[in-house]
C-alpha cells in the first residue's frame, strides 16, 4: 500500500510543479528562437538607420571636439571626416588647463560618491524595516514615501536653501550630499523594499531563531543577498548625481571651487555662448565617466530600470 502511494504522490507533485513552472516558462519568453521567424532584411535596415540617426548628434559632437578651433567654427563637423584628416587634442588641453575641468572632475567625484552611498544605505535601512519588521503605520508611511517619487524636487529648493544658509551649509559639499540623499531616497526605498520582500522568509526566521539580531540579519543576510539590486540602484544614483545640474547650481551657491562638471559646462555655455571648441571638449569630458559606467555595467542599469518601473 505504502509503495503504491509513492508514485501517486510523485505524480501529483509533478503536476503541481508543472502548474507552477508552466506559466513561469511561458512568461520567460521563447522556448526556441526558431519558432519566431527572423526579421526581414528591410526591418534590419530600418532599425540600423534608426540607430544611426540616434547616434549622429553625439558622434558629431565627438568628432568636432577633436577638430582645430578654426575649423569647428567655419565648417561642419562631417567635413572633418573626409581625408586629409586634421585632428588635434588642443581643445581638451585648453579646457583642462584654462577652465578648471580637472578640479571640476574631482568635484563631481567628491559629490557623486557620498551622494550615492548615503541614499543607498539609509534607503536600505528603511526598506528593511518596511519589508521585514512589523510596526504600526508601516504601509501608510511606505505609500507616502512612494508618493514622494513624483513630487517635483524644485519645491524643496527654496525652504532647504534658507535652512542650509542658516546652518552655514550652503556652498559646502555636505549641502549637496544631503540634498541628493533626500531626493534619491524615495526611489531607493521603493526599489530595495520590493527586492528585500522577495528574499526567502525562512532564512530570516531561522536566523532570528538562532538568536541573530535584526542588525545582524540585515548586514549578514539581507545586504549580501541584495547585491544585484544594490548595484542597479548604485549605478542609477551615481549617474543621477553625476549628471545633476539643478541641485549643484542652487546649493553650492555659485562657489566655483566646488562646482562639478555639469555646472562648469553650463557656466561655459553661459560665458561663451557659441564657443564650440571649448564646449564640445568640455561636455565630452563630462560625459566620459557616465559613458564608461554605462557601457561596462549596462546590464545592471537596465535591470534597475525594469525593477523600478515594471516589477513595481
Amino acid at each position: 500500500m505504502s509503495s503504491s502511494e509513492i508514485p501517486v504522490s510523485g505524480g501529483a507533485e509533478t503536476t503541481l510543479a508543472e502548474q507552477i513552472v508552466a506559466p513561469a516558462r511561458k512568461r520567460g519568453g521563447r522556448i526556441s528562437s526558431v519558432q519566431r521567424a527572423a526579421a526581414s532584411p528591410g526591418v534590419t535596415i530600418l532599425v540600423v538607420v534608426i540607430a544611426l540617426l540616434w547616434s549622429v548628434p553625439t558622434f558629431g559632437l565627438f568628432v568636432a571636439s577633436f577638430r582645430p578651433p578654426t575649423l569647428i567654427t567655419t565648417t561642419g563637423w562631417w567635413s572633418g571626416l573626409i581625408p586629409p584628416w586634421n585632428f588635434t587634442i588642443t581643445n581638451y588641453e585648453n579646457v583642462i588647463q584654462a577652465n578648471g575641468m580637472g578640479q571640476a572632475f574631482l568635484n563631481s567625484l567628491i559629490l557623486a560618491i557620498p551622494g550615492t552611498i548615503f541614499p543607498l544605505l539609509l534607503g536600505a535601512f528603511a526598506a528593511y524595516a518596511f519589508a521585514w519588521l512589523r510596526f504600526p503605520g508601516r504601509n501608510l508611511i511606505y505609500f507616502i514615501i512612494v508618493a514622494m517619487l513624483v513630487i517635483p524636487s524644485q519645491i524643496a529648493l527654496v525652504p532647504m536653501l534658507s535652512l542650509f544658509t542658516t546652518l552655514g551649509l550652503t556652498g559646502q559639499y555636505a549641502a549637496v550630499w544631503i540634498a541628493h540623499t533626500a531626493f534619491g531616497l524615495p526611489f531607493a526605498v521603493f526599489l530595495l523594499r520590493n527586492f528585500f520582500a522577495t528574499l526567502p522568509k525562512d532564512l530570516m526566521e531561522s536566523a532570528h531563531i538562532d538568536g541573530a539580531s535584526s542588525f545582524r540579519v540585515f548586514w549578514s543576510i539581507v545586504m549580501p543577498l541584495s547585491v544585484p539590486a544594490l548595484a542597479s540602484l548604485a549605478i542609477f544614483q551615481f549617474m543621477w548625481v553625476w549628471n545633476d545640474l539643478l541641485v549643484a547650481l542652487i546649493f553650492l551657491g555659485g562657489n566655483p571651487d566646488r562646482a562639478p562638471m555639469t555646472l562648469t559646462v553650463a557656466n561655459l555655455v553661459g560665458q561663451y555662448g557659441e564657443n564650440y571648441p571649448v564646449l564640445t571638449a568640455a561636455s565630452f569630458l563630462s560625459m566620459a565617466l557616465p559613458l564608461i559606467v554605462f557601457f561596462s555595467l549596462q546590464r545592471y542599469f537596465v535591470r534597475g530600470i525594469l525593477a523600478g518601473s515594471v516589477k513595481g
Binding site: 505504502s2 532599425v47 548628434p57 563637423w77 513624483v150 524636487s153 524615495p186 561636455s283
Partner: protein
C-alpha cells in the same frame, strides 16, 4: 497508510500558525534617518509652499487666490501652461510610441543589443551635455554662409532656407521636445522590449496560423498583451514631462516662448524673486501630478496583493 500517518505527524510538529514576531518598535530607528530627511525635503517644503502661494511676492501680505488668478489670466503665463500641455501630449506620445515601434521592430533582429545601446546611450548623458549636443545640431548661420549645424546643412542640400530652430516660435517647442524624445525613447524601448519577450510564443503562433497580418497582429495581439507595461511607461513619462525643466533650461532658458511651468517657477523665484507666484506655480504642478500619483499607487498596491 503508515506513510500518511507519519506525514501527518510531521505536519503536526511544525507550528500550525506562522511564527509571528511581535511589533518591533526598533523599526522606527531603522526608518528614522530616511523619514527625517524626507520630512525636511518633501513634507515641510510642500506645506510651506502652499502657505507662500497665498502670500504676495515678498511673502508679507495675504493675497488670497490672486497668484492663482494671475496664472490663469496673464497671457504670458497662459502661454506657459499651453507649452506644458503641448509637452505633455507630444513628448509622451512620441517617447512611448517610438519606444513601442522600435521595441517591436528589433524584437526579431539579430543585432538587437547594439541597436538598443544606440538608443539607450542618451540616458547616460546629462541634460547639460545633451543641451550642448543639440545646440550644435541646431546651429543657425545666415543663408549665404556655410551651415555648420547638421540640420540646416541638410536643409541647404534641398535649397531650403536655414531655420533658427530654437528661436522661431512656430516650431521651437517641438525642437526642444525632440531633445527630450532623443533622451527618453531608449528608456521606454527597453521596458517595452522586456514586456514583448514575455508574450508566450504559442499566442504569436496561433495568431499567425489564423492568418493575422503584421499590422493586425500588432494591434490585436502585441498591444493588448503588453497593455499594463504601456500603462506604466506612459505614467512614468507623464510624471516626467509634467515636471520638465532641464531641457528647457539648457536649450533656451524659457526664452522665445518656450517656457514651461517648472521653468517659470525657477525664473519667478531666482530671477524675479516673486515667491508668491513661484509657489503657486509649484502647487499647481503638484496638483496636476496628484491624479497620476494615485494611479501609480493603486497599481503598486494591486501588485502587492498579487505578490
Amino acid at each position: 497508510m503508515a506513510t500518511m500517518a507519519t506525514q501527518q505527524q510531521e505536519a503536526m510538529t511544525v507550528p500550525p500558525r506562522q511564527r509571528r514576531r511581535g511589533i518591533s518598535w526598533t523599526a522606527f530607528i531603522w526608518i528614522a534617518p530616511a523619514v527625517i530627511l524626507l520630512i525636511a525635503f518633501f513634507v515641510y517644503p510642500l506645506i510651506s509652499t502652499i502657505q507662500l502661494s497665498f502670500l504676495d511676492a515678498t511673502s508679507t501680505t495675504y493675497v488670497g487666490l490672486k497668484n492663482y488668478q494671475q496664472i490663469f489670466t496673464n497671457p504670458n503665463l497662459l502661454d506657459v501652461l499651453k507649452n506644458n500641455l503641448l509637452w505633455l501630449v507630444v513628448a509622451t506620445i512620441l517617447t512611448v510610441g517610438l519606444g513601442l515601434i522600435v521595441a517591436v521592430l528589433i524584437d526579431r533582429v539579430r543585432i538587437e543589443s547594439i541597436i538598443k545601446s544606440a538608443l539607450f546611450i542618451p540616458m547616460a548623458i546629462s541634460f547639460v551635455s545633451a543641451g550642448v549636443i543639440w545646440r550644435f545640431m541646431y546651429i543657425y548661420e545666415p543663408a549665404n554662409q556655410t551651415q555648420i549645424g547638421l540640420l540646416n546643412a541638410v536643409l541647404a542640400i534641398f535649397h531650403i532656407a536655414p531655420q533658427a530652430w530654437t528661436i522661431n516660435e512656430a516650431y521651437n517647442n517641438f525642437a526642444l521636445i525632440a531633445v527630450y524624445v532623443w533622451m527618453w525613447t531608449g528608456f521606454s524601448m527597453v521596458i517595452i522590449s522586456a514586456a514583448l519577450k514575455g508574450i508566450p510564443d504559442d499566442v504569436i503562433e496561433a495568431a499567425r496560423i489564423d492568418g493575422a497580418s503584421r499590422l493586425t497582429m500588432f494591434w490585436r495581439v502585441t498591444v493588448p498583451m503588453i497593455a499594463p507595461t504601456l500603462g506604466v511607461v506612459t505614467i512614468t513619462m507623464i510624471i516626467n514631462v509634467l515636471k520638465i525643466f532641464d531641457v528647457v533650461y539648457v536649450m533656451t532658458g524659457g526664452n522665445y516662448n518656450t517656457s514651461v511651468v517648472a521653468m517659470e517657477f525657477y525664473n519667478e523665484l531666482f530671477t524675479f524673486g516673486n515667491y508668491g507666484l513661484a509657489s503657486a506655480l509649484a502647487v499647481l504642478l503638484t496638483i496636476a501630478i496628484l491624479p497620476v500619483m494615485f494611479l501609480n499607487i493603486q497599481r503598486i498596491r494591486a501588485e502587492e496583493r498579487t505578490r
